[in-house]
């Protein structure tokens, strides 16, 4: 049996510049369209649903502040992913590094007690979270740089272990991280000095600005510093790096450690912000994985992560509110997120390749709508 046609990918000689921003935009719309089909099939109005989503995600006080609050975390996990991806290091274990950030941050917040002022305490908690995230990726980074072991597999496996670790520290009676005063398993609250106040009646914390500053700083590092220069050389041509005496192994380890630290930082931001303790439900939220989508949407461009992080957060907040404000199932929001990732990655193919449909039996080739 033969299929009468075939889709052929052919590398473009040159990428038209307009495709660079049209494609990500189009992938969001394509995902929305895809979601609309599902909504129609299940008997909901796409227009009504999307209007609600937009209102709840962006166009109301609670909506926009919740969106920015969520984006605080997703910008961090997004840069974490993009920073490693741009050097072709596929750290997909940001999720696990985030859990460790939660644990590391909670440890500092509990262990150091109420002795230090908030101004010192909060940075210390954030730092401990970042260090814990970095520590969690150290082994994958080391074996990747020495032996070339796939970091995709190792970071992913460690995520499962990190999830067990979260459960362990909360569900084990007498655990340091467990609230000793309740029989119901709950995280122990960190010291007051390790908790920030949210803005007014919102759920937005000052950590949002920390995320913005870090995004800006890393962008600068990549564009302007020697370290960024090395990253650019290595990711483009490893042989040129060798020729120039750039130590690719060391840079690989550092890039992965920084990537892990950023995901850890995202976890610690939850500690000093909304959670104040280890919240075991974190393992159902997938903030680390969402960072991969945010990075893909921004095509690993650190300058665009803030935009894609906020956009994606808004879709998610709006999607989650659907169930509260209407009876639309929450899964529609989750499905949209997945669809966006798929379309963003698929869209990349349009940017880089000419896509043709070729009939296998006669020689004529037809151009697929690009």
């Amino acid at each position: 049996m033969r299929i009468p046609f075939r889709v052929v990918f052919e590398q473009r000689g040159e990428t038209p510049r307009r495709l660079s921003f049209l494609v990500p935009l189009a992938s969001v719309f394509a995902a929305l369209f895809f979601g609309a089909l599902f909504l129609l099939a299940t008997g909901y109005s796409p227009i009504g649903t999307y209007t609600n989503m937009f209102r709840d995600g962006f166009a109301s006080f609670n909506g926009i502040t919740d969106t920015l609050a969520l984006s605080t975390v997703l910008i961090c996990t997004g840069i974490s992913a993009a920073f490693a991806f741009q050097m072709n290091l596929y750290n997909i274990g940001g999720e696990g590094q985030l859990y460790l950030g939660l644990i590391g941050g909670a440890w500092a917040g509990i262990a150091l007690g109420d002795h230090l002022p908030t101004l010192i305490m909060v940075p210390v908690v954030l730092l401990c979270g970042a260090l814990a995230g970095a520590a969690w990726i150290f082994v994958p980074a080391f074996v990747r740089s020495r032996l070339g072991t796939s970091e995709i597999v190792s970071t992913l496996l460690l995520t499962y272990i990190a999830a067990s670790l979260i459960k362990h520290v909360i569900y084990t009676p007498g655990s340091f991280f467990r609230n000793p005063n309740t029989s119901f398993p709950q995280g122990r609250m960190v010291a007051d000095s390790a908790s920030l106040e949210s803005f007014g009646s919102s759920r937005l914390y000052p950590t949002f600005f920390v995320a913005l500053i870090i995004a800006g700083a890393l962008y600068w590092v990549v564009k302007r510093t020697e370290f960024g220069y090395r990253i650019n050389v290595i990711s483009d041509s490893p042989r040129a790096a060798h020729y120039a005496g750039i130590n690719a192994r060391r840079t690989t380890v550092w890039v992965m450690l920084i990537s892990g630290a950023l995901s850890g930082l995202a976890g610690a931001m939850l500690i000093v912000g909304p959670y104040g303790k280890i919240e075991p439900s974190i393992i159902t939220l997938g903030y680390g994985y969402a960072g991969i989508v945010v990075a893909a949407l921004a095509r690993n461009n650190l300058g665009l992560i803030i935009v894609s992080g906020i956009l994606f957060s808004g879709l998610r907040v709006g999607g989650n509110n659907l169930q509260v404000t209407t009876d639309t199932p929450i899964h529609i929001g989750v499905m949209l997120q997945g669809a966006i990732l798929l379309f963003a990655l698929g869209g990349e193919a349009f940017r880089r390749y000419h896509i043709h449909v070729v009939r296998t039996h006669d020689a004529s080739s037809k151009k697929a709508p690009a």
């Binding site: 052929v8 052919e10 000689g13 040159e14 302007r224 510093t225 020697e226 960024g228 220069y229 650019n232 050389v233 483009d236 041509s237 042989r239 040129a240 060798h242 020729y243 120039a244 005496g245 000419h354 043709h356 070729v358 296998t360 020689a363 080739s365 151009k367």
Partner: protein
């Protein structure tokens, strides 16, 4: 020297009078940001002829070839194939019309084997590949065109010359009727060029057409039925008829003035030893690549290393540059032992190195000219691009690099201009004043004007007291520039002779492994 004797294969030349136009381009415009790479270009190639595109670096030859094969779409103008208008939306469409291009920069997957690369992109491959069958087919195609190659070799392990061969085999395998060869001979040694030309004659005799691009005027005179000269994207001259022109005239047509390539070997004082190589041996995966090499290069001396590609030249250069640690023996640069020190240390004691491979090793394709200039320099913690910018502009001017400025990306440069960027960086000193210059095939891909400039710069560097190791497959270049010539064969120095009295026949014989007992 243009008339290198070479037997014409397969009988007399094809019926030139009655041949029909196989492919033509009409008023082609192709713009890139800041340049009009093709400016209403008319071009045609007939069945059974070799039509050469000639022009300075950045004149628009590769761009025109890319339009002819469907890689680029022209901004204006159109193509006709056998009298019918065609629209090529991609190289695949070009291939369906029997048009294939062998690119100046290789487009091979380094991790794949030769046959995997050759069949890559072929239509109608079965789901399950029969490796042995494919290998045999690839080897047969390669063999029948006189380009023997091991189908199972990994492309990443091949020398540049061998990779070029894979590219040619690939185009032939895909059944090209019109073959666009963009500087195919730049990486071939004379004997290989002869073979290629025999094959070109065989193909034209069979009615196929060749569009040929080369900067080597001798070759152009020898192989072309017609020549079209491009300059700044415009057609500025035609020569038709085999043997009706000579290299001098072509050079004049191209650059508008006379070119003197016979660099004089200035008499000058030779100083102390700068490069000292002692009993250098190198094995890679237990295969001996270099065997017991010892020689010196003195200040103010140019030593040429001749040899057929793949006899250890690349490894020798990489070892001197500190990129490879030798198995035994030592390398010293101006008194310092640099054997296992790495490239940065070697540069700090005065090394400059132009590697054989420009894009991907000597240059980072996705980075700008400016950033590429910084590649082998001392960069500060915060890269200071501002203070390097004027120097970048100056070098662009001095080397006549056709670019929009220091921010032009390396991969968007024409082949010759990329080579100029590499030379500009390495000849202009880096971490410290250059004492030893190791250059591999420095003039490959350069037009005659640029060759003249580069040879002058090399001579200037020598007069300024730098020690120069010139490694090149271009025997003429080695013989005409070097004070001393070494011949590398299978990783050993098999012949050594002063440049002035070097005999082409002797050096050639040594390169082929026919050296009389050892070295003098």
């Amino acid at each position: 020297m243009s008339n290198t004797s070479h037997e014409v294969a397969q009988g007399p030349h094809h019926n030139s009078g009655a041949a029909s136009t196989a492919l033509s381009a009409h008023s082609i415009d192709k713009k890139f940001p800041g340049v009009l790479a093709n400016d209403s270009v008319d071009f045609d190639v007939r069945a059974g002829e070799v039509h050469t595109l000639l022009g300075e670096n950045g004149a628009g030859k590769s761009t025109l070839a890319a339009v002819l094969c469907g890689l680029y779409q022209p901004d204006a103008g159109y193509l006709m194939r056998n009298g019918k208008r065609i629209n090529l939306s991609s190289p695949r469409a070009g291939l369906q019309h029997g048009i294939a291009m062998v690119h100046q920069h290789f487009r091979l997957v380094e991790r794949f084997t030769v046959s995997e690369n050759v069949i890559l992109g072929s239509r109608d491959l079965p789901f399950k590949l029969n490796r042995r069958e494919i290998n045999e087919k690839v080897a047969a195609v390669a063999e029948s065109y006189g380009l023997p190659i091991d189908p199972d070799a990994t492309v990443g392990d091949l020398s540049v010359g061998q990779r070029q061969r894979v590219e040619i085999v690939k185009a032939l395998y895909q059944g090209a009727e019109i073959l666009l060869l963009d500087e195919p001979t730049a990486v071939l040694v004379p004997s290989e060029v002869e073979k290629l030309f025999e094959n070109v004659h065989a193909m034209t005799a069979a009615g196929k057409s060749i569009v040929f691009i080369s900067h080597k005027l001798g070759e152009v005179v020898e192989i072309s039925d017609r020549v079209t000269v491009l300059r700044n994207g415009r057609v500025t001259g035609h020569v038709s008829g085999r043997g009706t022109t000579d290299t001098k005239e072509l050079a004049r047509l191209m650059v508008g003035r006379d070119i003197e390539l016979n660099a004089q070997r200035a008499t000058h004082a030779i100083g102390h030893e700068v490069l000292q190589i002692r009993n250098l041996s190198l094995s890679i995966d237990d295969v001996a690549v270099l065997t017991d090499i010892s020689f010196n290069v003195h200040a103010g001396e140019m030593v040429g290393v001749a040899g057929v590609a793949g006899n250890g030249q690349r490894e020798l250069a990489d070892t001197i540059a500190g990129l490879i640690s030798p198995t035994s023996g030592s390398v010293g640069i101006s008194g310092a032992m640099t054997t296992d020190c790495g490239p940065v240390q070697a540069r700090e004691v005065g090394l400059a190195y132009v590697p054989e491979d420009r894009l991907g090793m000597g240059l980072v394709p996705s980075m700008s000219i400016l950033d590429n200039l910084l590649l082998t320099r001392d960069r500060k913690l915060v890269v200071d691009r501002v203070s390097v910018r004027p120097e970048a502009s100056r070098l662009i001017e001095q080397f006549e690099i056709k670019a929009n400025g220091p921010d032009h990306l390396a991969r968007k440069l024409s082949g010759g201009n990329a080579q100029k960027v590499l030379l500009a960086r390495e000849l202009s000193g880096g971490r410290s004043a250059t004492k030893l210059l190791v250059v591999c095939s420095p003039t490959r891909g350069l037009d005659v004007g640029a060759i003249e400039t580069v040879r002058r710069l090399l001579n200037d560097a020598r007069s300024a007291g730098q020690a120069i190791l010139l490694i090149s497959e271009d025997l003429d270049e080695v013989l005409s520039l070097s004070d001393r010539v070494l011949v590398l064969y299978r990783g050993s120095v098999v012949h050594e002779t002063p440049g002035e009295t070097a005999q082409l026949s002797q050096v050639g014989a040594a390169m082929a492994g026919l050296a009389a007992e050892g070295r003098s």
